[in-house]
């Protein structure tokens, strides 16, 4: 990086140079022209240098000099303001940059550096708010889960037909809290994005299936997994996991007993869940992706936050949420092109990337 420059200094220096050059040029012309003006007519031998021809020549000289000066001044202003132009594009890169991103102010002109530093303070403040909100949501979830755990175990001890229903209610509340926590994470991500990593959808899908098969079987539903030609994608592991989980939970909910839920990974960066429910039309999918919307068959469980979560996760990954009503499948496609933005640009301080994870883990510690 070059020495910090000042646009004002550079402008002053440049314009002074132009001024001096113009002054010298004008002085030379003046001396020459005045000489011609007064001496010229008295020498009739020099036919072409008549008083009539001289005037436009002098005027032309002045005009040319002024034009040159204007151009030079313009060039000086342009060159002096060029770093400002570069800085704007650098500052623009802060939009959507992930957590820990800071503008590199060291090489910027003094005037812009001050502006960049305030931008950095602003980014930091936003990040702090995002992280605090996330931690707060996590803490609330944690605080709610303990009394719910007590409630569930108390119901366990009673054991009757009613308690089974009540236990199912407690579980639904628990799921809603999980979803609200994911929503909080998504909102925090919108304010201060989480850095993406390389994730293997097949690994996540298989872990998801592992964790959900026992409970699904107990309720008479089957889960199967099909791995097609898939490839690793860049993404936010926690958020992608939450989206996939919600897809499977939704599918299990609408699948009647003895039905089958099929998880498909691939081809490419695609995760599909086919259920045994009545299927969703594209219009329904769009409508249900709004938070708290309910589909006509989403009877068993409360809020329809699931699809909103999935849709938002798809969106921030540059992907899409789609459905195939014939196959009764919902498909989450994560775009590959998203990875392009993850390449650290040359003026980004790499230390920030390295430090970021540990900062995060401290901030979400729970009591």
């Amino acid at each position: 990086m070059t020495e910090p420059r000042s646009i004002v200094d550079q402008l002053t220096r440049g314009l002074t140079m132009v001024g001096i050059a113009g002054g010298i040029l004008l002085s030379i012309e003046l001396v020459f022209d005045v000489h011609q003006w007064f001496e010229g007519p008295r020498q009739p031998g020099m036919g072409s240098w008549s008083a009539v021809g001289l005037k436009p020549f002098v005027l032309l000289c002045f005009a040319l000099t002024f034009a040159a000066l204007v151009l030079a001044a313009r060039r000086v202003v342009r060159r002096s303001l060029a770093p400002l132009h570069d800085s704007v594009s650098q500052i623009e890169s802060a939009i959507d940059a992930h957590r820990g991103f800071r503008l590199e102010v060291a090489g910027l002109p003094v005037e812009v550096a001050r502006y960049g530093a305030s931008m950095n303070r602003l980014i930091e403040q936003l990040e702090r708010v995002a992280i605090r909100r996330e931690a707060f949501a996590a803490e609330v979830a944690h605080e709610l889960k303990n009394p719910m755990a007590v409630l569930l175990l108390e119901l366990d001890a009673i054991r009757s037909e009613e308690t089974d229903r009540l236990k199912a209610d407690v579980r639904r509340m628990s799921r809603l809290i999980d979803q609200l926590l994911v929503m909080a994470k998504l909102e925090a991500h919108a304010t201060a994005p989480v850095e993406s990593t390389l994730i293997d959808l097949a690994e996540l899908a298989s872990e998801l299936a592992q964790s959900m098969v026992p409970a699904a079987l107990d309720e008479g539903r089957q889960i199967s997994l099909a791995l097609k030609d898939h490839q690793p994608v860049r993404g936010r592991r926690e958020l992608v996991w939450a989206a996939m989980r919600n897809m499977v939970e939704n599918a299990l909910r609408v699948t009647p007993p003895r039905g089958m839920v099929t998880l498909t990974v691939g081809p490419g960066a695609r995760f599909g869940v086919a259920d045994g429910g009545p299927g969703l039309s594209k219009a329904e999918l769009v409508r249900m992706s709004r938070p708290f919307a309910q589909a006509r068959h989403a009877s068993a469980s409360g809020a329809g936050l699931g699809l909103a979560i999935i849709d938002e996760v798809a969106r921030i990954h540059g992907g899409s949420l789609d459905c195939d009503p014939d196959r009764r499948e919902i498909i989450l496609s994560l775009s590959q092109c998203h990875s392009g933005r993850e390449q650290p640009k040359q003026y980004v301080n790499l230390d920030q990337f390295v430090r970021e994870p540990s900062e995060n883990s401290v901030n979400v510690s729970l009591t």
Partner: protein, 224 residues
């Protein structure tokens, strides 16, 4: 089976004790990590149920520092932290299983039994899953008190599935465990073996605790 429950929420701990005591576990409780150390130092426990947020420290770092001890019992984390990263961190720290609150006592008991059946733990002479009772040394199976004759391979498969009851056992794992490296194993061979075993441990009504999970493997359900 003696279990130590480490949780600072007294009421919750008492409820867990009550719930799993009814399922054949003897329990003690510890309100913090110091208490847990004290209890583990004076008595032998077969398993520990550990909450992560405790008044005198973080359960994870405590677990990490104790896990290396050779006689340390298997640990089941029971926590309100529900994210994937928390789960991964818990298992990395040396926990054997991870349960997120709220859960009912049947599930806790099932996971505890699963922990105790795991290979590598203090080996149990007899494995019990639902109505199945398998004597490891004698390789004999009793299903609802009637003896079921098993071939050598069937017995091996059953032991594998029983030790991991309640979780999906991958086909590749079965192949690795049951067959020598130089043995030619077709996918059909495993399927046929599973099908024979399923038939043997099924009920007259046709249902069986042994389920196929397409694309993954098999699961022996632990009916609590």
């Amino acid at each position: 089976m003696r279990v130590l429950i480490v949780d600072d929420n007294r009421r919750l701990a008492e409820l867990v004790v009550k719930g799993i005591a009814a399922r054949g576990f003897r329990c003690d409780t510890a309100g913090d990590l110091a208490d847990a150390d004290l209890a583990l130092g004076s008595l032998h426990y077969d398993a520990v149920i550990l909450d992560l947020a405790l008044p005198d420290g973080d359960g994870l770092s405590w677990l990490r520092s104790r896990r290396a001890r050779p006689d340390f019992p298997p640990v089941l984390i029971l926590t309100a932290r529900l994210s994937l990263e928390d789960r991964v961190a818990g298992l990395d720290a040396g926990a054997d299983d991870y349960l997120v609150k709220p859960v009912d006592s049947a599930e806790i008991a099932a996971r505890l039994r699963a922990l105790l059946r795991r290979p590598g733990q203090r080996s149990l002479p007899v494995l019990v899953v639902g109505g199945l009772v398998y004597d490891v040394a004698a390789r004999s199976l009793h299903h609802d008190s009637t003896e079921v004759p098993l071939t050598h391979k069937e017995a091996e498969l059953l032991e594998l599935l029983m030790r991991r009851a309640g979780t999906v056992v991958r086909k590749s794992l079965i192949t690795d465990a049951l067959y020598r490296l130089d043995e030619e194993v077709t996918p059909n061979a495993i399927e046929a073996l599973v099908s024979r075993l399923r038939h043997k441990i099924g009920t007259p009504s046709g249902s069986s605790p042994l389920n196929t999970v397409r694309g993954m493997g098999y699961i022996l359900r632990d009916g609590g």
